[in-house]
C-alpha cells in the first residue's frame, strides 16, 4: 500500500511487513495448486524392506507420489556426496524423506501418506559420539568409501571429516607450564527456529520450472535443483518472496528439488508448507552437539603457553554444509588468544541424528562457551581476575594468534574494556546476582558476487542484486551504498533481489555475507553509473571529469556548487535514456598464516577481516531451583565500519537474545532411539519478551582494509558467539559452581549446586 507518513529512514520492505501486504511464500496461491506432504522414515535407523506406493497413487485426488525410483539417481552434498533426495535402502534419521505426495488438498494428501506401505527393519541407532568412532562400530554409511569427495575432507568410518590446527610443539610447551587446567564441556544440539516454517511452491511452464521458496540462498537452491534433477541452470528459476527469518536454517537447497519433481509429475503447481514439527525434524540445518576436551598451560605471569584440545562434533546422518565445522570448532576452542603452541584436533562424527548444518555462526556459540568457561577456570586456578587474565592473553593489533595469523588493526582489547566498563565490572551486586565475561570472534567470508545498477531517465535507480533479505536489513543497506555512490537520495533507489532469473549470482544471505560481498558489487556497479553521469556532466559543464561531484541529486564542479546540473537531466540525456552499470566484486586476498592446519583444510584457519566481540552478562540465579535469568548483556563489537546503525544494533540485540536462549533453555532432547522429544515451541523454549535482558550495544569502529564495503566486516553471526560463555561465567560467579553442559537449564544448574552442597 502507499503510505504517506513513513518515518525518515526505514527499511524498504518495512511498509509491506507492518501492513500485512507483504507476501511470504506460504501466502502465495497458484491456480490449481496441489498440496505436498512428505512421508518420513519415522525411525532414526532402519533398513527399508518394503515400500509400496501403488495404493496411494490410486486414491482419487492424488496427482503424484514419488520415491527414489522416480527421480535421477544422484548422490549429492558438499564434502562427501552422501545423500539422495529420497531414502533408497537405509533410513538414517527420523526426518529422512521416503516418499512425497501431491494431492488436491491436505486431507487427501494425508490419506495418501497413510496408504503408503513402508516396512522397515529397525537397526540400532548410532547416537553416542565416542562409541561411533570406536573400532568396530556399525557405520552410518557403509558405502562411505565409494562416495565422491570434494575439498579436503579426510574421512574414515563414522568420521566424516577430521581437522586439526597446530602451531609449535604443544606437548613440550605444556610441560613448561606452571599451572595446567583441563576441562570437559558438552553442548546439546539446538535449532535455528525461524518463526516462519519453510514453504516451497513449484510451477512448470514447458521445460522450465519456477520455484518460490523460503530460502536464504536462491542460487544455492537453484544449484541443488539442477544437480539432483539433472537440469541445466537456464531451466530453473528460484524466487524468494519475503523471507520470515533463517539464521542459517534456510541455507542450502532443501526441499525445492522434491517439490519441483512433484510439480513436474503432477503437471500442476505444488505447494509445501511445513508444520512446526517438520521444521524441527526434517531440515539438514541443526546446530551440532559437541564434546569438547581442552587443556591449557599458563606460566607464572599468567600468560598462556600451550593449549591442546579434542573435539567431537555430532554431524548427524548426512553432510549438509558441515564439512568445515571441524576446523571452525578447532578455531573457537583455540580462541582469540596469543598462544605460542597449540594442537587441537576435531572430528565430525556421523550419527543417526538429524543432519547438522550452518546455524548462525556454526560451532561458535558452543566452542566459545566451552573455551570462555575454561578461561575463567584458568583465571580462578591462578587467582587472577577474569578480565585481567583476558587482557593479558587476547590478540591485539599486530599480535599473532593461534594459527600464526598476524592481525592488522583490531579492537578486541577495546571491546573488552568497554564491555567491562559498561557493565560496571567489579561492582557489588545483590545476593544471587553476578557478572560474567566472554570474548568471541568470527571471520568474514569473501565470495564472488555481482550486481547491476540502472539509472532511469526519471532519476530513480534500480539495483539488481543476488543478495537476500533474511530480515537483517543488510539488503536495505545496499540502497544506501548505491545512493551514496550516485549522489541521490536513497528513497530513489529500488532493489530487485531474491530472484535468480534477474540477478547475477551471489552467496545470498549466509555467512554474514550480504553486505560484505553484495555490498562491494553494488558499490562498484553504482560507481560505474556514477562515472558515466560524471562524464555527461563534465561535457555539459565543460569541466574535467575528475572534478565532478555527485551529491544531493545534482552534479557539480568541485569547489563551485553553483555550477550544477540535476542528475535526472543527465540520466535522460544519455543515448538510451538510462545509464547502466554491472560489476563483480573484486577478489579479496586471504591473510597468510604461519601455523599448520595439518589436515582437513576448509578455509577456516586464516580469518579474513576477523570480527571480535566481548559480552558481559549480568544474571540472577535462584539457588533453590536453579532457574537463571539474564538481566543485562553488555555487548561491544568490532565489526569494522558500521554502515547502517539501526540494522547493526538489531543484529547484536537479536544475536544476544538467541545466545541467551541457547544458554538457558534451547537444547534438543532425544529419546534412546535418536528421535527428538521436544520438536515444538512449548518444549523447545525460545526466550520471550518477558525474559529479554536489557542489551547495551557499542561498536569499536575500525576501518578495515581488505574487507567489505567502506571498511565494514560481517556482523550477522558474530553477536551469537559470546553470550553463552558470559552467562556461564556469571552463573559460576553467582553460585560458585560450574555448569558443564549447554543449555544450562534450571535442572542442570540446580544439580550442580545440589551436588556441590552434598560434597561439602
Amino acid at each position: 500500500m502507499a503510505v504517506t507518513n513513513l518515518p525518515e529512514f526505514i527499511r524498504a520492505d518495512g511498509p509491506d511487513k507492518v501492513t500485512g501486504s507483504g507476501r511470504y511464500t506460504a501466502d502465495m496461491t497458484l491456480t490449481g495448486q496441489l498440496v505436498a506432504k512428505f512421508k518420513y522414515g519415522e525411525v532414526s535407523h532402519g533398513r527399508i524392506t518394503k515400500l509400496d506406493v501403488e495404493a496411494a497413487r490410486a486414491i482419487p485426488g492424488v496427482f503424484a507420489v514419488l520415491t527414489a525410483a522416480d527421480v535421477p539417481d544422484v548422490r549429492y552434498s558438499y564434502g562427501l556426496a552422501d545423500r539422495t533426495l529420497f531414502a533408497t535402502d537405509i533410513i538414517r534419521f527420523e526426518g529422512e524423506i521416503v516418499a512425497a505426495v501431491a494431492a488436491i488438498d491436505a486431507d487427501v494428501a494425508q490419506q495418501a501418506l497413510d496408504a503408503i506401505v513402508l516396512e522397515v527393519d529397525v537397526l540400532e541407532p548410532i547416537t553416542d559420539l565416542h562409541a561411533a568412532i570406536a573400532d568396530g562400530s556399525p557405520l552410518v554409511h557403509e558405502a562411505i568409501d565409494t562416495y565422491e569427495v570434494t575439498g579436503d575432507t579426510p574421512h574414515s568410518g563414522n568420521i566424516a571429516t577430521h581437522s586439526s590446527i597446530s602451531m609449535g610443539d604443544a606437548e613440550a610447551a605444556m610441560a613448561t607450564a606452571d599451572t595446567v587446567v583441563t576441562s570437559r564441556y558438552l553442548a546439546d544440539a539446538s535449532h535455528a527456529t525461524p518463526i516462519e516454517p519453510r514453504a516451497v511452491i513449484a510451477q512448470w511452464e514447458g521445460d522450465k520450472v519456477t520455484v518460490w521458496t523460503s530460502t536464504q540462498v536462491p542460487f544455492d537452491a537453484r544449484a541443488g535443483v539442477c544437480e539432483t534433477l539433472e537440469l541445466p541452470t537456464s531451466k530453473v528459476r528460484i524466487i524468494a518472496p519475503h523471507l520470515g527469518g533463517g539464521f542459517g536454517g534456510k541455507c542450502g537447497a532443501h526441499f525445492e528439488p522434491h517439490i519441483a519433481a512433484l510439480a513436474r509429475a503432477a503437471k500442476r503447481p505444488v505447494k509445501l508448507v511445513f508444520s512446526r514439527w517438520e521444521e524441527f525434524i526434517a531440515p539438514d540445518r541443526r546446530r551440532e552437539a559437541m564434546i569438547i576436551d581442552v587443556t591449557t598451560g599458563v606460566d607464572a605471569d599468567g600468560k598462556i603457553v600451550a593449549r591442546t584440545g579434542e573435539i567431537l562434533l555430532d554431524n548427524g546422518a548426512y553432510m549438509a554444509d558441515s564439512s568445515f565445522f571441524a576446523q571452525a570448532a578447532a578455531m573457537h576452542v583455540a580462541g582469540p588468544y596469543v598462544i605460542p603452541a597449540v594442537h587441537i584436533d576435531a572430528k565430525l562424527v556421523y550419527t543417526n541424528h538429524q543432519p547438522s548444518g550452518s546455524v548462525r555462526a556454526p560451532t561458535a556459540p558452543q566452542g566459545c562457551w566451552a573455551i570462555e568457561s575454561h578461561t575463567d577456570e584458568i583465571a580462578k586456578a591462578i587467582g587472577m581476575d577474569a578480565l585481567e587474565f583476558r587482557r593479558k592473553n587476547i590478540v591485539t593489533s599486530g599480535s599473532t594468534g593461534c594459527v600464526g595469523q598476524t592481525y592488522d588493526e583490531i579492537g578486541l582489547d577495546q571491546c573488552l574494556d568497554m564491555a567491562a566498563a559498561s557493565a560496571g565490572w567489579g561492582q557489588d551486586l545483590p545476593d544471587g546476582e553476578a557478572l560474567g565475561i566472554s570474548v568471541g570472534w568470527w571471520p568474514s567470508f569473501a565470495a564472488p558476487a555481482g550486481a547491476y545498477a540502472k539509472l532511469h531517465g526519471d532519476g530513480t535507480v534500480q539495483v539488481i542484486t543476488g543478495a537476500s533479505e533474511c530480515g537483517t536489513g543488510s539488503v536495505m543497506t545496499l540502497r544506501m551504498l548505491a545512493a551514496d555512490e550516485i549522489g541521490i537520495d536513497e528513497t530513489a533507489v529500488e532493489l530487485i533481489y531474491q530472484d535468480t532469473g534477474a540477478a547475477p549470482a551471489g552467496p545470498g544471505s549466509s555467512g554474514s555475507q550480504t553486505l560484505f560481498n553484495h555490498g562491494r558489487a553494488v558499490e562498484k556497479a553504482s560507481r560505474m553509473v556514477a562515472d558515466q553521469v560524471k562524464e555527461l556532466a563534465a561535457a555539459q559543464l565543460e569541466a574535467n571529469v575528475s572534478d565532478i561531484v555527485l551529491d544531493n541529486g545534482t552534479a557539480s564542479v568541485a569547489g563551485s556548487p553553483a555550477i550544477s546540473i540535476p542528475i535526472v537531466e543527465l540520466a535522460g540525456a544519455s543515448e538510451t535514456g538510462e545509464i547502466l552499470g554491472s560489476a563483480a566484486a573484486d577478489a579479496i586476498e586471504w591473510p597468510e598464516i604461519t601455523g599448520s592446519t595439518c589436515l582437513g583444510e576448509q578455509g577456516f584457519s586464516s580469518w579474513l577481516a576477523p570480527q571480535f566481540s566481548c559480552h558481559v552478562a549480568r544474571v540472577r540465579v535462584d539457588a533453590d531451583t536453579g532457574v537463571t535469568r539474564v538481566l543485562e548483556v553488555h555487548a561491544v563489537h568490532d565489526s569494522g565500519t558500521i554502515l547502517n546503525p539501526v540494522a547493526a544494533h538489531g543484529q547484536v540485540e537479536g544475536g544476544v537474545m538467541m545466545g541467551v536462549g541457547q544458554a538457558l533453555t534451547e537444547g534438543t532432547r532425544y529419546d534412546d532411539q535418536g528421535n527428538q522429544l521436544n520438536a515444538g515451541l512449548l518444549e523447545y523454549k525460545l526466550q520471550t519478551i518477558a525474559d529479554a535482558p536489557k542489551i547495551t550495544t557499542q561498536f569499536v569502529e575500525i576501518f578495515t582494509d581488505n574487507a567489505g564495503p567502506r571498511g565494514a566486516k560481517g556482523l550477522a553471526e558474530a553477536p551469537n558467539v559470546a553470550t553463552c560463555g558470559a552467562v556461564n561465567n556469571a552463573i559460576t560467579n553467582a553460585t560458585g559452581v560450574r555448569i558443564r553442559q549447554l543449555p544450562m537449564t534450571a535442572e542442570r544448574v540446580w544439580e550442580a549446586i545440589n551436588d556441590s552442597e552434598a560434597a561439602s
Binding site: A2, V3, T4, N5, L6, P7, E8, I10, R11, D13, G14, P15, D16, K17, V18, T19, G20, S21, G22, R23, Y24, A26, D27, T29, D107, T193, P194, I195, E196, P197, H242, G244, G245, G246, S275, R276, C470, G471, T472, G473, V646, A647, H649, G650, V652, E653, G654, G655, V656, M657, M658, G680, L681, L682, T688, I689, A690, A692, K694, I695
Partner: protein, 160 residues
C-alpha cells in the same frame, strides 16, 4: 476426519462483512488467509505457542490458529490489514518501523495485534506490563528491545 458440511456464516473482519460457507472445523487463521485473502495473519506453529496468528476478536487478542472461524460470527475480527487507515500507518506501525523493531517481519503482524490490544486496554502500561502483554508473541530476530521501545513510544504519543 470430520464430515464435510459447510456452514453459511458471515464473518466481520476489519469492518467488512464476508458471507462465506465454511466447514465448522476450519480455524479462523486458515479462513482469513485462504478464503478472505488476508495473509497478513501468519501461521508459525499451530499450537498457540508463537503468536504469529494473533488477531483481535471484539478488540481482544486471540490465537486465530486455534479458534474456530464459525465461532466468530456476530463478532468483530481485526487483523493487521485493519490497522492502517487508507493513507496512514497506525502510530504503532510507524513507530515499530522507526525503532527498527521489524526484521524478517513474520512475527510483526501478531506483535502489532497484541500491542494494539494492550494499549487499547491500558494506554499507560509499565515496561513490565508491555513485556507480559507481548509475551505470547515470539520473535527470533530482534531481541525484542526495539519492539518494546516502539510500544513505549506509542504510549507516550497517545498520552501527549
Amino acid at each position: 476426519m470430520s464430515t464435510s458440511n459447510p456452514q453459511a456464516v458471515t464473518l466481520n473482519v476489519n469492518g467488512v462483512p464476508y458471507p462465506v460457507a465454511i466447514d465448522t472445523s476450519r480455524t479462523l487463521s486458515t479462513v482469513l488467509r485462504n478464503e478472505l485473502g488476508l495473509t497478513g495473519t501468519k501461521e508459525g506453529c499451530d499450537d498457540c505457542e508463537c503468536g504469529a496468528c494473533m488477531v483481535l476478536l471484539d478488540g481482544r487478542p486471540i490465537n486465530s490458529c486455534s479458534y474456530l472461524a464459525v465461532q466468530t460470527q456476530g463478532r468483530e475480527v481485526t487483523t493487521v490489514e485493519g490497522l492502517a487507515s487508507q493513507d496512514d500507518l497506525a502510530p504503532l506501525q510507524r513507530n515499530i518501523l522507526a525503532a527498527g523493531g521489524v526484521q524478517c517481519g513474520f512475527c510483526t503482524p501478531g506483535m502489532l495485534m497484541s500491542a494494539t490490544a494492550l494499549l487499547d486496554e491500558n494506554p499507560t502500561p509499565t515496561e513490565e506490563e508491555i513485556r507480559i502483554g507481548l509475551s505470547g508473541n515470539l520473535c527470533r530476530c530482534t531481541g525484542y528491545a526495539r519492539i518494546l521501545d516502539s510500544v513505549i513510544q506509542t504510549s507516550v504519543e497517545i498520552n501527549s
